[in-house]
Symmetry: C2
Subunit: 488 residues, 2 copies
Amino acid sequence: MTNTLKSRQFAAPRLVGTPQLLSRDADTSLVEQIVRSIETRIDDKLLRTGSRMPSIRQYAEFNGVSRFTVVEAYDRLVAKGFLESRRGSGFYVRERSPLITTHQAPQAHQWQPPLIDVVWLVRNMFRQMPNQKKPGTGMLPTEWLDGDLIANALRAISRQNASQLLGYGDPQGFLPLRQQLQLKLAELEIAVTPEQIVTTTGVTQALDIVARHFTQPGDVIFVDDPTWFLMFGSFAALGAKVIGIPRLADGPDIVKLAELAAIHKPKLYVLVSVLHNPTSTSMSAAKAFQTLKIAEEHDFIIVEDDIYCDMHPGSAVQPATRLATLDQLNRVIYLGGFAKTLSANLRVGFIATSHETAQHLADRKMLTTLTTSEIGERVVYKILSEGHYRKHADRLRTKMDIAREKTVRHLVRIGMNVDIAPPAGMFIWVDTGYDTNILAEKAAARGFMLAPGALFSPNQLPSTRMRINVAAMSDPEMWRFLEEECQR
Amino acid sequence: MTNTLKSRQFAAPRLVGTPQLLSRDADTSLVEQIVRSIETRIDDKLLRTGSRMPSIRQYAEFNGVSRFTVVEAYDRLVAKGFLESRRGSGFYVRERSPLITTHQAPQAHQWQPPLIDVVWLVRNMFRQMPNQKKPGTGMLPTEWLDGDLIANALRAISRQNASQLLGYGDPQGFLPLRQQLQLKLAELEIAVTPEQIVTTTGVTQALDIVARHFTQPGDVIFVDDPTWFLMFGSFAALGAKVIGIPRLADGPDIVKLAELAAIHKPKLYVLVSVLHNPTSTSMSAAKAFQTLKIAEEHDFIIVEDDIYCDMHPGSAVQPATRLATLDQLNRVIYLGGFAKTLSANLRVGFIATSHETAQHLADRKMLTTLTTSEIGERVVYKILSEGHYRKHADRLRTKMDIAREKTVRHLVRIGMNVDIAPPAGMFIWVDTGYDTNILAEKAAARGFMLAPGALFSPNQLPSTRMRINVAAMSDPEMWRFLEEECQR
């Protein structure tokens, strides 16, 4: 395992040089704080196997603690197997073998090399870090969302008959929410009954269940290139082969899609039609039609992830064609959720598909998590059914429009190429002109988290593009950093 | 697929003969009610492909509706593809081909034949049906649980800073809950740090994540025989081979375990040490030690599912040895949760394991559901940390003791063999002397859901045993049924 780590070509940003946040008032001793901090860095791969630790003196001076404290911390880390002491040379991060080595057969970890960078970025997204330090984040700042909406709904639910919350609930999901989703989809001209809908723990579980149901190890799954990178790890873990279809501003590269479909005979093509991540572009009607024709010809299923649905102002305002609208859930499986616009923590997503497939997927869901909690589903139901959601989404879009315009202007001013300027959505897929892996590494050293382009592509090749979140671009220091770097 | 259904050897109970619950006051027309009811039965495999429907006249008379109503309902079902009309012979349940047939390659469904019965029982458990009609249920009646505990905790959470609920939360789970679990495990003499704990969507997701991490298709997983049957479908879906280890009153059949381990070289052995499902027996200290020795010798991991932990009065009162207590999470992965004692709907379970494995499993969790919702985890944290949980569990145990004693006496009186009389827990693994598949089928016709023994065994062979829930034995009609059947 450690070997696969070593052989990685892409270097994840390191935070080795930043000072520790040590507190003399904390409940835990300074020694313990240092031990934990170093352990975390090693576990997060920020300190690599074999790398040399700062000397005891360096560490002590840099962090303003006594050398005795550092000696004790290093000693404990040696005892715990995190570090090793090499006579006359100092302390090194140790190659830690898993506790139960024999069970980690090499083929069980085939999927790890591409995963580890993805995991690095995902872990960083979950790190408690101010939003203006994360231009690469895929989420809106919490200040943009509405905590009171959630709190009020929770309070209302706590006043209902609580015995409803004691059982497992419906394996397909809370029925009133599915009825509400039926109405939501009807507005997108997708006709469904509640029986065709299965709720999930976010779109992530939806993708996992669908991929597990329709693929066997060795099968091919097409994804957009670029796209949401968590899928690479998720699908690779199932033993599927992930192949990227170049995504142009108006949808997939159709010639390439037809060519690759003929060669690889994919089982699934997972795509985002409206406000594609990371480009925030939407598919044209013609491309949607052509994509469906190719899917029919080569007999694969399309999984349409519409998580950014409500960041789009609607097809009356801007063109937006969903494949599910054309196909009516015959060959298209439609996924949606509320993590981006309402709250990620509710973990409410859903699948809409044929009646038959919905039954199979509900069974799959039972085998993996039994049911999903109704609490989050009741919260979403309440906010949707009482009309709050629509108003909230309107406000979000207005705010996003202002931030997007400002960000584009600023990016252009500092010399970046905004050739794909999206009229909606939260992302800009900017071309910096520099290798964004290196840029991200430098940014990390300054305390910022960027999302380098390489991560979004299944082949993970270095890229000059990166994804920028228009709602997380308020820190002047970050702008200064970008300006300096890109004018060198 | 339909072929595999036809070739099944075990006949799931049918409800064909029971009258429909039709309402003239309902919002939906009688025709629609009939259509839906028949659709559900077909989907639930209660009406089998190829079976003949009652004639229009029979159906109308039996349900007290006009023949026109039935004609219209049958016609709609024909149009929807659920039924077919055979000239001069009547209506038949149609063989429904999946919408997307080509993608359902036969090997993708290898796991289905055993699954379908399990799914049948699981689906029935989720059916809204009074608890006294479900002696086979694995849950406590909602009246036994404490809805106010949940409601109060939810209310308190809604008053906290709601912005905490907008982000994804910690991929390992809500930290204060993990700290609380550290204390809980310390009482069982299992030493862990919060970093060694990963929360999950119930024990079900914990099992799924662990199995996915440690096995490849073709690998062998040992389970207790009998055991919680959902695992058969879950593991088979991963392509694992599930083999049962005979479970005796004091733990696994050690000779058999050693023998089978040498032959099959399993990757995992999933077992319940304390209050095993369905026998409610606990493992002896000697058996626990022997099991661990065999695990070491043949180098497999033990997954210890301790979901019934708090139904046990504690090792000071009755012997109870956990393998994790002996092994200290070296070779044992410990699973727990609160679905049985607090609320299934919260979907809060957890994994405790080595620091290294916890990191890997947290990554796996990210790939399948990103995070778990913090709401349920905050609810459990509150109830645990404020001391309510302990008192609630004490009350449950007292109530269960009374119900168990009463149930055992009654079972013996009607001539059933209670050879394994557990001193704690909610199940009795009773020997009826009759094939419980047939008994369950007859009970279903009377509106009761039993849990026949065959379901709990990986080989699914007919059995004279069944699992009885002592908390769901209050219906005199059900006792009359058992008495009649078993004295014939």
